[in-house]
């Protein structure tokens, strides 16, 4: 059986190793050595889009519906139903979408990478790559990171659009306290391009962390098929907490000292 403090202790244990692995992989990408396998990076980006895009967008769409619903009822309960756009603008763009994106990415992409790389590790394919003279960490981890950096901004920007559409459906069509024009006026007033950049930064940091943690746990899996399952479970646990912490730090850095709201002078 496990003890009460085993989870925090094991995270402290592996934090340093994950950090070293992550800096190594990022270094491989920025030094350009990954460009030797640029075709593989493009293939990984393609796999990401074809395999995960629909699920990510569906999840983001549901979160948009939820934000709109909560916003509509909240603004009704403070007696200002026409201001539902304020809540859904903040809930969608600034907070909700990065979190939803991080959650579904760690579930779909992060654990998928662990299962794939872990299976390669325990069937000795990674050692075989090394024997063939191909650096496995570049070929497997760095190409996945570059592929994620290529594909994820576009996935996320489309996701923002879907989330907006879902919030509109929930506020205007489902609850219906506010007219379409009244909702959109408030909604677009309370966001600008810089907010999109901040939101994109948050989600890109989350995606980078998720891919790197996934690569680490897959690359170091051991102990047969059972070990792959355990490593997948552990990577999910680490990712879900890191996503929340990155979201909090992002809000603290971007909006902590200045709320960036068009109110007052």
């Amino acid at each position: 059986m496990i003890g009460w403090f085993d989870v925090p202790r094991s995270w402290l244990d592996s934090a340093g190793e994950i950090g070293r692995f992550a800096t190594h992989v990022i270094g491989l990408v920025f030094s350009g050595r990954v460009l030797r396998f640029f075709g593989e990076s493009l293939r990984q980006a393609g796999i990401l889009v074809l395999g995960s895009a629909l699920i990510v967008w569906a999840f983001v769409f549901i979160l948009g519906l939820q934000c709109g619903l909560i916003g509509a009822y909240f603004s009704r309960s403070i007696g200002a139903p026409s201001n539902a756009g304020l809540f859904s603008a903040y809930c969608d763009l600034r907070e909700g979408l990065p979190y939803a994106f991080g959650y579904i990415l760690s579930a779909k992409v992060g654990t998928g990478i662990v299962a794939e790389l872990g299976a390669m590790r325990i069937s000795d394919e990674i050692d075989a790559l090394e024997v063939m003279g191909i650096q496995p960490i570049t070929f497997l981890a760095a190409t996945r990171l570059l592929g994620a950096w290529i594909a994820i901004p576009f996935l996320y920007l489309v996701g923002i659009g879907l989330g907006y559409f879902a919030s509109y459906l929930a506020v205007v069509e489902q609850v219906g306290d506010v007219s379409s024009g009244g909702y959109l006026l408030i909604f677009w007033t309370f966001q600008d391009f810089v907010d999109v950049i901040f939101s994109l930064t948050k989600s890109m940091v989350m995606a980078t962390t998720i891919v790197l943690v996934g690569c680490y746990f897959g690359y170091t899996a051991s102990g047969g098929p059972v070990g792959v399952g355990t490593a997948t479970a552990r990577s999910m646990a680490v990712n879900i907490v890191l996503v929340n912490i990155i979201g909090m730090l992002g809000t603290l850095v971007f909006y902590g000292s200045h709320p960036r709201a068009p109110i007052g002078g």
Binding site: G79, Y99, K108, T111, P225, M236
Partner: protein, 268 residues
């Protein structure tokens, strides 16, 4: 020819519907096995309860505090501070932290930390053929493995939700203090706006999340197959299904709860 092409195009949808149906059957059999005597699963139930609690308490605490400090805490406090109405943050936390973030973060963490561990555990037993051996011995895997996990997860997600709300409100207090405002206003609007309906709705929703997590994780673990990547892929599919199902359920439940309880929308 056309029928073949159509059949191949609809294959993912067909396998999805089949899996949903099998999960429904597993749910019905689990509930039936849980209420029909004998009850041999007491020890396993306590063991699973402690297992989930030991795995989840730390990630749950950190995640709830982080999410509630960032999203409803700092973001809303910044806007409310512009209006000079920072004391309204308490009322805002009822809407977000109690009704929404508490259950969803508890479900996400329990699914991501404990649910994945359960799938990996059951998947390991499946591919080592221990589950078949149990059946040969005349031990029902549903009654002895699925039922205790189902009950333990349903109870523990409901209980953890209470702690998630407590830590979420702690994060709200931290955000209020960061803006140098007294805590009195926070608690005043919090207790004026919070109703019993909010709390039971939150806890009930979270227990049902726990039921979804248990069924999906046990189903995916007990049907794991396919070589070295089998268990890993089972865990991957389980978390994706749980997240989609939980959020879809969250939306339905919130819509029904808010529309059928008009006292949640009155101005206080």
């Amino acid at each position: 020819m056309a029928a073949q092409v159509l059949g191949r195009a609809l294959l993912p949808a067909k396998s999805f519907l089949e899996q949903v149906g099998e999960m429904m059957i597993l749910t019905a059999r689990t509930v039936a096995a849980a209420v029909r005597p004998p009850f041999p699963y007491g020890e396993e139930l306590v063991g699973q309860f402690l297992f989930v609690l030991k795995l989840s308490w730390f990630p749950m605490t950190v995640s709830t505090f982080a999410l509630c400090f960032g999203a409803p805490g700092l973001q809303a406090a910044g806007v409310l501070d512009l209006f000079g109405a920072l004391d309204r943050l308490g009322g805002f936390f009822v809407v977000t932290a109690v009704r929404f973030i508490g259950p969803i973060v508890t479900a996400a963490v329990v699914a991501g930390v404990a649910g994945t561990a359960i799938t990996a555990d059951l998947g390991a037993r499946k591919i080592r053929e221990e589950l078949d051996a149990l059946q040969v011995l005349g031990v029902d895997p549903i009654k002895n493995l699925v039922v205790p996990r189902f009950i333990a997860l349903m109870v523990i997600t409901g209980l953890l939700d209470v702690f998630a709300i407590v830590f979420g409100l702690t994060a709200g207090m931290a955000a209020t203090l960061l803006y140098d405002a007294p805590l009195g206003g926070f608690f005043a609007t919090l207790f004026t706006n919070a109703l019993t309906t909010d709390v039971w709705g939150s806890v009930l929703m979270c227990s049902l999340f726990g039921a979804i997590i248990a069924i999906v994780c046990c189903y995916k673990g007990m049907t794991a197959s396919g070589g070295p990547a089998g268990v890993g892929r089972a865990v991957n599919q389980a978390v994706v299904i749980i997240f989609m199902a939980n959020f879809a359920f969250l939306y339905t439940f919130t819509a029904v709860l808010l529309a059928t309880n008009p006292e949640l929308q009155t101005i206080r």
